[in-house]
């Protein structure tokens, strides 16, 4: 009976993975398609990748996007984890609302009002900073919610045990809390990363002159039609993300594993 349940679990999971990866296979496949129209398979080519390597705009935009995603997801993981911890341990009534409202607010509104705020209240010049601040604002909630879900129903006695043994709050945090919430931090970081690297609407408004990100570049191109070049950059971006994360996990296994 156990094996039967196991069988169904695997089948369902593989089906979900397939659902996630089938469109992706189309993206990757058509990045090698020798047709501008890009509607049906014509022939194999790598010319889109060659073209891409000479497209400075696109490469610069991709570099910007990666940078912004890395920084904003790191910061929002930190702040979101704090908010999640606070919501779990100290239950300030207003914090869940403060954290959740940016998630609930339509992004176009968030974009316009952040721009109004940066320009007309702070009189800030737009640039990378404004994009980072905006991305962190809408990512904190996602991380906080996931950290809180991890902590919910957690046995409080371990924390007390640690304290009773005379551990300082910092030591308790390092030795008990951190390893405990590490999977949530990893998941939250990954979520914030994809939110940032994919965001068009808010970035469109808060980006300063001459600061381009990949979604901005792709949206304006797609107005005409999706060319295989867009597929190629998406494929590269995924490969790069995968490499980055694998390298990071190799050099800092603890960061990913979350246990000593």
């Amino acid at each position: 009976m156990k094996t039967k349940a196991h069988f169904w679990l695997w089948t369902a999971s593989l089906a979900t993975y397939a659902f996630l990866y089938i469109p992706l296979a189309v993206v990757v496949l058509f990045s090698f398609n020798d047709s501008v129209l890009n509607a049906e398979w014509v022939g194999f080519t790598t010319r889109w990748y060659v073209k891409l390597l000479h497209d400075d705009d696109m490469l610069h935009a991709a570099a910007n996007s990666l940078m912004i995603a890395l920084v904003s997801s790191s910061v929002s993981t930190l702040l979101g984890a704090m908010a999640g911890l606070s919501m779990h341990r100290y239950r300030p009534r207003w914090l869940p609302f403060l954290v959740l409202t940016p998630v609930a607010m339509p992004e176009i509104l968030l974009g316009v009002s952040l721009l109004l705020f940066f320009r007309q209240v702070l009189d800030l010049s737009l640039g990378l900073f404004s994009i980072l601040a905006a991305h962190i604002t809408f990512s904190i909630g996602f991380v906080a919610v996931i950290v809180r879900a991890r902590l919910a129903g957690m046995d409080e006695s371990i924390f007390e045990a640690a304290r009773d043994l005379g551990a300082t709050p910092w030591a308790t945090f390092r030795r008990v809390t951190l390893p405990l919430i590490m999977p949530a931090l990893v998941a939250g970081f990954l979520m914030a990363f994809t939110l940032s690297i994919d965001d068009f609407v808010i970035t469109f408004f808060v980006a300063g002159v001459g600061v381009n990100t990949l979604p901005l570049q792709i949206y304006s191109m797609i107005k005409v039609a999706v060319t295989p070049e867009v597929n190629a950059i998406s494929t590269l971006l995924m490969a790069l993300t995968l490499t980055l994360i694998l390298v990071a996990s190799r050099f800092a296994p603890d960061v990913l594993k979350g246990r000593s």
Binding site: M1, K2, A5, T16, Y17, F19, Y21, P23, V26, V27, L78, M82, L85, S86, R89, Y90, P92, L95, P96, L98, V99, L100, V103, A104, M105, P106, I108, L109, V112, S113, L114, L116, F117, T137, F142, I146, R148, A149, E156, R163, P169, P183, A187, M191, F193, T194, D198, F200, P215, I218, V230, N231, I233, S234, L237, M238, T241, S249, K257, R259
Partner: protein
């Protein structure tokens, strides 16, 4: 559940609470205020907002306009329906996957999580266009079905990840104990695992349900002639129609609805939990 003791951690509380609060107060609350006020302002002659001279310039026009019209209510209802359906499908798809990941050997877990999120490191629009290519030839493009598929696809990781982080921590020993007591697979699942994973389901649902409501690209690209959602309506006010007060008013109504719903769910789940505690 014992209440956490607070006396040794007064400082810790502020160290943990203050930074995110300060950040959100600066970058979000101030911004939100602009929005709330915008909902009460007049439209400028050529769009945007009319200059504001005094408090007398504020008006309830936008709300009157929306309030006196069932058509907007209909769009709200439709959007909540699509969001609920998307959330439900996400739960069904995500649960087995999250479970599988949570029960795999430790060294494999992070890789499996990475596999879930990896497709989302490509580009959102490119993925939606991939769906156009997949759904077009089978005549499913430009239908409500296509909209739901696109919504589920775009939000699935936001269900899988919270569920996984929640399921991962459950003690397998608890399940074994249940098994020793002779509970069979389904009973064990419904009585032990499922209630324990409720916080994961709730957080995942919040992270799926809420963003779906504001989404406009999916109905625009995959939907047919009748697929308009609240996200499209709001976008139209800010762009094509240049009616910011109306857009703000719609957004505020949406946000209030969502927060009320979230508050209600939290309250209900708390009552529910206490209820089960009382039973056991």
């Amino acid at each position: 559940m014992s209440e956490p003791r607070t006396q040794p951690s007064g400082l810790t509380k502020w160290v943990v609470t203050l930074p995110p609060t300060a950040f959100l107060l600066t970058f979000f609350l101030a911004t939100a205020l602009i929005v709330v006020v915008a909902g009460f302002r007049e439209t400028g002659e050529f769009g945007g907002l009319a200059p504001i001279d005094s408090l007398a310039a504020l008006t309830l026009d936008a709300y009157h306009f929306l309030g006196g019209d069932v058509i907007y209510l209909e769009i709200f209802a439709r959007s909540f329906l699509v969001a609920a359906l998307t959330t439900l499908i996400c739960i069904v798809l995500a649960y087995p996957l999250a479970w599988l990941i949570a029960r795999s050997p430790k060294r494999r877990r992070d890789f499996l999580v990475l596999l879930v999120i990896l497709p989302f490191a490509s580009n959102f629009l490119v993925r939606i266009y991939a769906w156009i290519m997949l759904l077009g030839p089978v005549n499913l493009l430009y239908t409500p079905f296509a909209v739901v598929v696109g919504m589920v696809y775009a939000h699935l990781p936001f269900m899988v990840l919270p569920l996984y982080t929640n399921l991962e921590k459950h003690d397998p020993a608890l399940l074994e104990a249940a098994q020793d007591l002779g509970a069979n697979g389904w009973t064990r699942f419904w009585r032990v695992t499922f209630p324990l994973s409720l916080p994961g389901i709730f957080s995942g649902s919040a992270l799926v349900f809420i963003p779906v409501l504001g989404m406009f690209a999916v109905p625009e690209l995959l939907g047919g002639t009748g697929d308009i959602l609240i996200g499209n309506l709001i976008k139209e006010q800010f762009l094509e129609n240049r009616d910011w007060p109306l857009g703000s008013a719609l957004s505020i109504m949406l946000t209030v609805c969502v927060l009320a719903l979230a508050g209600l769910t939290a309250w209900a789940s708390k009552r529910g939990l206490h209820g089960t505690e009382a039973v056991t």
